[in-house]
Symmetry: C2
Subunit: 282 residues, 2 copies
């Protein structure tokens, strides 16, 4: 099942996506669902919604192209991210860390596909986009073993881990440099875990169509199950929580490492089987 | 006005505290308030609630001693904390940093006065208590200048910034080592900003009655106004958000630096004019 969060007049609402069209999951009993709520609802409720949606006539579906997409989860309780999680042969971080390297982004920094991003450049002139496979938690996970961790994954989405490269924001603590408003685009949609094998997905990032990252999730140092189990040993993971699972190395290419996001840029992160998530730099 | 969050059968509810008694702020119109809601309500609504509460007969107040106190804000949108924010002559961090040093704790880690704290000691055997003056945000603050920052402070409370000292949790990123469940006791109550001058409050921490910290907020390197303005330049601060403003140095004393919290310990953080916040180590 592919799901998205659509912003309409009444605020964000979860929708089923089918091809170029969507159907708000609000009509089964007349009550709108949020994606966070669906993430915690469990399989029977999801199956019921899926059955209901499949029985709806095509004319009830609306055109996705003209819809405003919100962050897939507009109100996550927490956004975790994992650093140094892609193999980087010969680089500064050539070896796998002993444990997943965990940092946080503020939940309020989430953004949607197509958003315009503006920040105070006097605080941080040097800001980059980074593609990450986003894991959205389903059933609550606390101290779950690796073997059971995947049962707690609701689905997968694209995360753009927009990050300041300025020394003080990229130094000891990363919270502010990764959490300015809109610094966490999430979308465009979510594919539920039953429909996607996350272990060898190509993923990348382009700026103005120029590739700056191109990797595969088969380079992940800590697997999704290992990351979920590790986090859950320390803190409970709740439905709708987002884990950005790390970013592949930047390509040597037409854009050198010191080419950061500039006004007018279009940054797109993409993941095979999920989609493309675009941010317009204002 | 002194406020607390009481956990009763219906969940957490904000209450007015008067001496040894409290009155749930639920009766003015029959609808219970949360402290987060009060923080964002603005002065007229607060004045109305205060007037109503003062008109209630003494017999409607209930005994605080037997109440279960929740975290003053049970559901903050964000918990920020400031590192290295007390003058530490001769120590490893003897100079004031160029900017406030910001990290985050997960909002879900908040706890209440009198809570029992248990964590998996195989993950982190070495855990300490730390007193911090907690600032609770009132009106939303985004890019506010220092001169106006104090208008966005709703009130003050005690925060115990419980922290792992184990190398990997106290190393590069502090999120997990400071966010295990219950690692952020907040309370016992809140004093609204109109009733407390935060600039020279004594504060400290005891373990089993032995003082391990004893300082004064006049040692703060970045004032509350500077911290609020700085954070707000990067991210919007919302009503009910908590800022732990830093912790004074640990005393040389009967408990050496490597004496960490042990089962059976009673850790109390205290701040002049606010109160004592106790945590029982299970």
């Amino acid at each position: 099942m592919r799901l998205a969060t659509i912003i309409d007049g009444d605020g964000p609402v979860a929708a089923l996506v089918r091809g170029d069209a969507y159907l708000p999951l609000a009509h089964a009993d007349g009550r709108a669902r949020s994606l966070r709520e669906l993430a915690g609802a469990g399989s029977p409720e999801l199956d019921r919604l899926r059955t209901w949606a499949e029985s709806q006539p095509d004319e009830d579906f609306r055109t996705l192209a003209t819809a405003r997409l919100g962050p897939v989860v507009p109100d996550p309780g927490a956004v975790f991210a994992i650093g140094l999680n892609y193999a980087a042969p010969g680089g500064a971080h050539a070896t796998r860390p002993e444990r997943p390297y965990v940092y946080g982004k503020l939940p309020a920094s989430v953004g949607g596909h197509g958003d315009r991003l503006r920040w105070d450049r006097s605080l941080s002139p040097n800001v980059d986009a980074e593609v990450e496979l986003g894991v959205v938690i389903g059933a609550r996970a606390h101290a779950v073993p690796v073997e059971q961790a995947m049962r707690h994954v609701f689905g997968y989405t694209c995360v753009d881990d927009i990050s300041s490269r300025d020394a003080w924001l990229d130094g000891d603590q990363w919270l502010l440099g990764k959490s300015m408003p809109g610094f966490c685009p999430v979308g465009p949609s979510l594919v539920t875990a039953d429909e996607l094998d996350p272990t060898r997905l190509r993923l990348g990032c382009t700026v103005n169509g120029v590739a700056i990252q191109d990797g595969s999730t088969d380079q992940l140092r800590f697997s999704i199950a290992e990351v979920v189990a590790f986090l859950s040993a320390h803190v409970p993971l709740e439905p709708g929580d987002i884990i950005a699972t790390g970013t592949p190395a930047r390509l040597a290419g037409p854009y050198p490492p010191d080419r950061h996001l500039e006004p007018g840029d279009v940054a797109t992160v993409w993941i095979e089987g999920i989609g493309e998530l675009t941010t317009h730099i204002a």
